[in-house]
Assembly symmetry: D2
């Protein structure tokens, strides 16, 4: 923690800050410069926060110098973590493409989807049984029936399933259907009670980035899960909100190298929600893999025009298979496999 | 719904769009321009959505022409709604200032706070028993004990209480302590399951704007509550996330006249979270009232430097009382009372 | 300047940083904490910049602790600066409303506008002779002829004139027509060559904030003007660019108290460009004055529907006069006059 | 142009809109729906703009249906444009990497840089002689002397040169030194007078995207250049401004497929300014090429730690050569060469 005193801070004001630091069991280093006095707190600064010092007389501002996340930080674990999803690794050298429809519609649609996902060489499948929709008047998902259809379709093809949990009260049902990876959606990234719940189990969790969440807030959200004991966390970037209106979101590829530096956990990308249009997906998917992502969440529907939601962003099975093939080439160039 | 066809769209492509519109029971108006053909869907366009048309061949883009919210729209209810909080009106000519600390700390702190809130002439009090905190390692609120302290302190001074609900499983406890106004926080604005729960009861709800939520998404979130039957909704602007780093958030006063045009429901402002520093609060509070807000949520603490959270944004009791006084003057200028 | 060393930085790496600091004639304070070593540079840190240290081995990051602006900073001049525009003060207790049309169209339109501006009790008039337009195919302003019409119309009513300079090559013409206040527009805020030119003269300059400029960048842009010798600078907030699409820009009232703290120079607000619609202007104008702005730039047109540009954001003369009147009331409440 | 009338618009109000449309020589299509009446203007809608209709009684809002750019639009020129820079093509199948230092420092530094750029197999070199700097107190570039050093160094290795023009008054000097590609910087994207000047010559122009410019504004800025007769325009994305503070800008790779759809002109990317740190550059550069960019602007310095500006974002010659090599592999996978 560093406390920068304002121009003209008095000795008494400096002394009060030092006393406060010492009161928490840390020691203070006072450095008097030509324009400002700077006070450093030496010891475990996680006990302190800027709002303890900022309202004190004579303080200009204060800031943490150490990141507030611990378990998810690469400082605490130098090597890349590889998460085991029923025998399928996420993280590490192998890249995983998770394909499937936006929402679970019918058993037939899910069977067909699973068949195409497996045929393209993928090992994990996505699909929403509970859907967070902007309007209360649109399709909200098939719920538990959807989980059942999804599980059956995936099992026929030996696929692991990924689906979103929106409400802590449904966690038991998710465990009953043995959902392999629980997705925490964009709108739930800071639903701290939900994070605590998935922190208590040991199922892998995909934590999507909030629409306007900073990388730091995202890491702290993961820390909520990790603090409960569940370290099987996968970050998923899905486009951020900016001033641009020509596309739904801006895919933030810069977060990939930055997260790789800050955390030991895997990072995947959802190019479908980022752009919002199927024709943008191949370019974004290729960029994601080239930037170093450990995998992708890609929407594919057996018949996109008939999809019950987000019909304009799903690839058809042929487009999906062709995309996976071109990603295999890029993976090879950067020394990875798919 | 308007569908704009691409340059060079064929008659067959136009025909397919018309057929799709008619399939939903609407009629189509085809207007062939010099550069583009435009197709209008006539009838209840809420049955349609852009993603039904955008993936069709020949379509450039499509858009709704009518807003997707109904119950909260001023189209459905022309006059301003006044919400009754145990005899205290929110909305209408009278402006309400809701004061109190960020979090419930001790019974003594709450008693003192309630005394100062009442002394300043306010009728409602704020305070957090359950706190959404960015870090899992910081104070998470006193929980149910906090509700108890809050209720007791407020009752001594005849104040109505406002506090945040973060988890649907706690709703029963909120009702037991007869929380007068349930606050849905910024991070929960699109927690749709929570919105549905507070839609089923009839307690007034303050719906805070998400950190990067558009006005349209915010109105749709309110529509989730309203669709369940609870129309006692109060919008609360609390600063939005932008590129600016000199202050925590940017208070968006423009949303006040815009919401007043779009909805019949009351709009209040939280100047404390917007700026993030106590010294900014008076200027922002005055701007909010001058812009037409129906009330404010203002942080006040008996001893700001000792507050357990957000210590740098609380006013002390004297500053709070002085602020309320100056707001009374501005209210008078624009023909309102406080 | 503070340099934070990474976890595990070696003595040699720390030594290299110290040597570099000393090479610039400053001294180094090394503080070894439990997790990080922090090095403070003591002396005139403006000789240093983070990019000198960030690429060095072992450095995690570095930051300035003193703001980079000097002349415009309140540290260098404690009292509010009042700028004299031909006898009309900007800054200080009196609030100035600068009214007039978006663009200079005809002599008659300008004569009528000047008459209404003066009738409302204003002393300064705005109007664009050179217009920055998004499209090359729209009206680009009347140029020098426009300046001539503007000067004549204003002189009949004793008004000072404010108009935008887009190109350094036109500065001579602006001086010939004795433009009283030169406006540097949003898109030119970081046109550094233009800033240097207006820094060489002594005419008052209104420096509009860039569409996505931080307060810090804005102050540095002002410092460009001030460094040339011209200290007659007026900041003008005009709405910033965010994710919100329900209105053109978000008026940032928070910048008013923040600028008042950081600089001694006056701050005004343009509510017309901020919201983009005439019906939003009164609410935003009142908020601006309540927040502490020293004045406003307001678009008024004798016949808004016939305006050649931005027809939807101009007030008509009656609306303008009524607005000025209500602002007078708010000014009184906060102890100012208008 | 489509004009959406408000709920309850009268026949007289609808008639007034029709009359206004007809007054511009277009015809009107009136479509009366169940909730709204929609009026379409048929003919050349570029004569119309929303602000002509929005202030009319009964109008809710209006919008263009055709994009406002013409020459740069793919509608006007279906095939990709390949720009000839003294025999080196930009656009088309071949990808160009433009390397070099942030600023021109000394003849020796430029000679060394040119040697390394050529050795890596590149044909174009970047370097700034005139530097737009946030602070007036930092190095502003070597000016005309810098152009001279740059030209000499590049000529020894047969490289084309790319450098930024900040001021129209320097254009003559740029032509004298035969600058091969004139760069219009981020802060000048909407310096319309400068755009008009480079529109009058036939030198290729790199148009960098403004820090918070929409794709639509960027295309309109290019249209300013094209409208003057110069169609040799190259778009350059360099990161946009968002709420994220963990890195300087967010590289927007989504704009690549979107621009490729909207315009026939080449699109390149500057990964160095986007991330702001050398260690991020390889990941971003690979993402850019994988997303379909036609080239890159990459900062390389013979000795990054000694660079006079942006020292933390330049690659050293070895890193640069290795990056070019890995990009060659990705180019091959997507069927292009480098």
């Amino acid at each position: 923690m560093i406390i920068i005193m304002g121009n003209g801070a008095t000795d008494a004001q400096i002394g009060a800050v030092v006393t406060k630091i010492e009161g928490f069991g840390l020691t203070a280093n006072v450095s008097r410069g030509t324009e400002r006095t700077v006070i450093g707190a030496i010891g475990d600064e996680r006990k302190l926060s800027p709002d303890m010092f900022d309202p004190m007389d004579g303080v200009e501002y204060s800031l943490h110098i150490v990141k507030q996340y611990k378990i998810v930080s690469r400082d605490s674990h130098r090597r890349d973590t590889v998460i085991d999803v029923g025998g399928v690794p996420i993280g590490g050298n192998r890249i995983q493409i998770i394909g499937g429809p936006c929402s679970v519609e019918t058993q037939q649609q899910m069977d067909l989807s699973a068949q195409h996902v497996a045929a393209a060489g993928c090992r994990l499948m996505r699909g929403g049984a509970f859907k967070p929709r902007t309007s209360p008047y649109t399709f909200q998902g098939n719920g538990v029936d959807g989980l059942d259809m999804f599980r059956k379709a995936a099992d026929k093809h030996g696929l692991r399933i990924v689906t979103e949990l929106m409400d802590a009260r449904m966690l038991e049902v998710f465990l009953k259907y043995d959902v392999d990876v629980i997705q925490i959606g964009t709108r739930s990234m800071q639903n701290f009670e939900l994070l605590k719940e998935v922190g208590r189990i040991d199922k892998p969790v995909i934590l999507k980035r909030g629409m306007a969440a900073t990388v730091s807030e995202w890491l702290m959200a993961a820390e909520y899960i990790a603090a409960g004991g569940n370290h099987n966390i996968i970050f998923c970037e899905r486009g951020i909100r900016t001033f641009e209106t020509a596309y739904r979101n801006v895919l933030d590829v810069t977060c990939v190298p930055v997260l790789k530096k800050e955390t030991h956990l895997p990072v995947i990308i959802d190019p479908s929600h980022a752009g919002g249009k199927a024709w943008m997906v191949p370019a974004l998917a290729r960029a994601a893999i080239a930037a170093g992502a450990d995998g992708l969440l890609v929407e594919m529907h057996p018949s996109p025009c008939d999809a019950w939601c987000d019909a304009d962003q799903a690839l058809n099975p042929e487009e999906f298979a062709a995309l996976v093939e071109s990603l295999r080439g890029i993976a090879g160039i950067i020394g990875r496999s798919l």
